[in-house]
Every structure is written in structure tokens, then in C-alpha cells.
Symmetry: C3
Subunit: 217 residues, 3 copies
């Protein structure tokens, strides 16, 4: 098995995990079979589509290579019928999701650097690749995106994308340092889950003057 075959298989495994999480959220919202497959597709491939539009890789991989759309659709449809079993695998799913987060972060950051996007932009693009699908999944199911609300999720991704950019500054990084960056994201995410770390929320003091009440809509 060559490196590129291994990478494709890993990428498709990440797509399957993210499609399952999207499909599971859609089932809980009582969407129909089409809605479940569509939300699964978007959760798995939305981040990569945005990445490819931003770096001008068109048509995006999700449309150019049928194996991506196929993996997402088949996985999401399977969850439609198997969601009770899937719900029981919660810990496994969180671990696989953390692995997908690491993989998508590294792939996204590397693709951005390869087309000469500068360092800060490449970090943001890497992170959007990893968290974008989940964001759109939550918008489609009528939720404020969970990634914006709590837990160390996007931050784990950002740490990994910064590591990739730093490695890139030292020369074109090989597979071993890139795997280490993905493992870093995976590790930070798992430790954060285990220790229930979360990002801080701003303190809200009771308004004294009425001026610090809810912001103008």
C-alpha cells in the first residue's frame, strides 16, 4: 500500500466519521432520509468544499472524486437505520471524531501552504477544513454551532495547524512530522474531553444602568 493510498483511506475514514455525526444529529431532529443523507454529506465534506473554494481548487474534491460523496452518503444512510446502535457507541465516536479532526486539520493546512497561502491564512484554512462541516451541520439543524459554545475542539485544531505551519517553515515536512501534528490535535482533544476542559465564557455582570443589557438586535 503506497503512502497516497494510505492517505486516501484515512481521508475517507475521516469522511465516514464526520458523515455519521451529521447524520446522527439529523436523525435526532426528525429529518427525513434525504435530510439525513444531505446533512451527513455537508458535515463530512462542507469544510473541505470551503477550503477548496478559498484556495481555488475547483471543482472541489467532494465533487471531483466520487469516492468522497459516496462514502458520505452510504455512511449517513446506514446511520439512518442503525442510529440506536450508533448512539450506544458514544465514546468510540468521540475518539474517532478526534482522529478525524487531526487528519482534516493537517490535510487542510498542507493544501493551503502548497498553493502559497501565507502562514496565518493557512492556519485558519486548516481549522476551517476541520470544523467547517460541523458548523454547517449545526446551522442546518437549527442550532448555534456547538464548536462556538464550549469545549476545546477548534482550539485543538488550531494548535495542530500552527504546528504544521511551523514545520513547513523548516522545510517541506515529511509524513512523520505531519502525523505527529495530527496526533497532537488528537491528543489535545482527547485530554480536553477527559478532563472536561473548556474555553472560558465571558463573565456577565448584572447591568447597573440598563446600557449593558442585551446588545442591540
Amino acid at each position: 500500500m503506497t503512502t497516497s493510498t494510505a492517505l486516501l483511506l484515512a481521508d475517507l475514514a475521516g469522511v465516514a466519521v464526520f458523515a455519521a455525526s451529521g447524520a446522527s444529529a439529523a436523525v435526532a431532529k426528525r429529518l427525513d432520509l434525504f435530510g439525513v443523507v444531505f446533512v451527513g454529506f455537508v458535515a463530512a465534506l462542507g469544510g473541505g468544499i470551503v477550503r477548496d473554494l478559498v484556495i481555488d481548487e475547483v471543482p472541489p474534491l467532494a465533487f471531483a472524486d466520487w469516492r468522497y460523496a459516496g462514502t458520505a452518503a452510504v455512511t449517513a444512510a446506514a446511520i439512518f437505520w442503525l442510529h440506536p446502535q450508533f448512539a450506544r457507541l458514544r465514546t468510540t465516536v468521540l475518539v474517532l471524531d478526534a482522529a478525524g479532526l487531526g487528519l482534516f486539520t493537517v490535510v487542510g493546512t498542507v493544501k493551503a501552504l502548497d498553493v502559497q497561502v501565507p502562514a496565518v491564512g493557512a492556519c485558519v484554512i486548516g481549522m476551517i477544513t476541520a470544523i467547517g462541516g460541523g458548523l454547517v451541520r449545526d446551522l442546518l439543524t437549527g442550532e448555534i454551532p456547538v464548536v462556538l459554545r464550549r469545549e476545546i475542539y477548534a482550539v485543538a485544531s488550531l494548535v495542530g495547524s500552527i504546528m504544521v505551519v511551523l514545520l513547513h517553515g523548516l522545510g517541506h515536512p515529511g509524513p512523520i512530522p505531519l502525523t505527529a501534528a495530527a496526533a497532537l490535535v488528537f491528543g489535545v482533544r482527547l485530554i480536553a474531553l477527559r478532563r472536561r476542559w473548556s474555553a472560558p465564557v465571558a463573565t456577565m455582570r448584572p447591568p447597573r444602568t440598563g446600557l449593558s443589557g442585551p446588545p442591540p438586535e
Copy 2:
């Protein structure tokens, strides 16, 4: 009247129908005149804008040809004042909407195939052209997109885009087979409406262990 003039007129008629549906939803949500026109614009042209970004036809037709934006804006503004009359035309609107669905599906799929997008990607792009505007309309008005929740709508579009791709595999299809594909979408959609067909929703059993409750937010 040449074929391309006929196609332009049909396309603008589709834009008008979708703009009216967007504007009508916006009026019901008490948006102001600008909001009604904007939601009408997005409902009519959002799917095509996404299609053009994905296949790298930039600037998208919605920005490159003023007749598209003009048709959408004028129609939406008319609905702002005429919405009570419009609401009474419900059956007519559903039929016109089904025709627009067929037309947009075929146009979107053909454009994707013309720039060498592979078969599966072209099907998805054709469907997004047809349903994308309605999706964004629902997001802007604070609803979970109806197309994800029930009824045979996106699936009718998908059937048509698959037919276009199959025809394309047999050689560059002429106007008659493409019209047949649009008519197929139209027919499937109308029969589904008539017979109240809808896509299945996953069965939710009462949780036994607490682990199959609502998914983690």
C-alpha cells in the same frame, strides 16, 4: 425565437417563481421591504451562485447578467405588496415551483458536465442548483430547511440529474432528451405532492439505557 432565447426566458421564469416563494416566506416572517427583496434574490439565485462558484464560472451569472438580479428583485418587491393575492394561488405556485425545480436541475447538471465535472459530482451540483436557494431562504428566515424535513422535493431533482448524466454518457444530449429530464422532475414532484408521498423518517424507540437519548450537542 431561438433556442437560447427560449432557454433564457424559461430560466428567468424559474427565477421569478423561486423569488416569489422566497419573498412570500419573508413576508410571513415580518421582514421589511429590503429583507423581502433580499430573501427573494437569494432564494432565486443562491443555488446558481453556489453552482457557479463550484464550477469556477466567475463572476456567477447572477452578478454577470443584470436580467437575473432584476427579475428576482422586481418579483420579490411585487410579492411584498401582492402577497395576499399570491397566497391564494397556492396550487398554481406549487406547479410553477415544480417546473422551476426541473429546469434548474437540468441546467445545473448540464453546466457541471460541460466543465468536465465527473458524473456523481455533476448530479450533486445539479441538485444543489435547484434546492440551494430554498435552503438558504429557510436559513435566513430561521427555519430548519423544509427540503430536509419531508416531501419528495430534492429526490425528484436528483432523479432528473441522474437522467441527464446517463443521457450525457450516451453522447451530447439535444434539447428534446433534456426537456424530457426536466419533465421527469416535474412529474415526480407533482405526483409526490398529489399522493402526499414523503421520504421516510427514522423510527425513534424510547431510550432504554439513557444512551440513545438526544445526541451530544
Copy 3:
């Protein structure tokens, strides 16, 4: 200080103002630190990212020049801690926001015209540059976008973009007429705020037949 340095500084000031408004909305929704920074980033740069994708300036400026992302992130993080003080500056914020609206409108319209987008499309692109960030901010925080609901905000932007297009029709406009267009947006917006102007909302009569009730979902 050259013209282009002045323009960059003005642009970054606009980014800071819009990032602050996004961050402030995110704090009110109890998002965590990452969520506040992300919503601030999107509110400040989302409109420009859409503009750049539509006119095929890729990677968008928000990813190509770190000063944009940096300004947005630092401002949003500052609001996370300083939001009570920020909330007390409401009038100042509204004035700065109106200035940002004018600036982003003019910059967006000019960029679209520079790549040969026709007049109507350039107006829409200029307006989306100015209002797009706020739209996405509201979607991410679970609100129907305020810009669609009331107040003269997008309309002020549209007036300015039309003025830029008219000036462009008379020949490549210099900095003074463009500044006048930005000032026009600023003025219309401030007068609208001062006089509580708002766009009309459609009159809803009580349904007589049940057919003019809420539109079909």
C-alpha cells in the same frame, strides 16, 4: 503616508469595528472565547471573503494578508474581556459602524468594477461586502439577520454602491468622489438612525379563508 497606506489603515479600522460588533453579539449569546473570536472574525471578514470568491480573487484577502485576520482576532478577544465597557459606548459604536459600512461598500463596489463585473452585479457585490459579515454573524448566533428585519442599513449601502457605479460610468473615479460616496452611506445611515427611519413591513390582514395564513413550509 501614501494613499494606499491610508486606505489600508481605514480598512483595518473597519475590520476592527465589525469584529467588535460580532464579538459583542457572541458574548451576549454566552459563546466561549473561541466562539467570540470566530464570530468576530466572520463578522469582520465574511463579507469580503464572499466578495473575493465571487470576483475570483483567491485566496481572499482575509487569508492572504495576516493583518486582516490579526486585527479581527485581537479586537474580538479584547471585547471578550472589555464587553461591559464596550456596551456603554453604544452611540460611538453605531457611528463607527456606519463609517465601516460606507468604507466597505465603496471598496467592494470598486473591486467588482475593476474586474469588469457589470453595473447591477457590482452594486450587489458592494452591498454584500458591507452587510455579509453581519448576516453571517446573526446566522451563527441563531438570529434572523437584523439587516433583513428593520432599519435603513443595507439600503444605505446600496445607495452608496449605486453612486460608485454612476461615478465609474463617468470615468475612473479618483479618491475624492469615492470618499463622497462613502460619506453618503455614512450620512444616510446616521440620519436613518437619528430619525428612526425604517423600511416598510408588509401589512398582514387577518386571513378570511384560511388560504392567506402562513405560507406552506
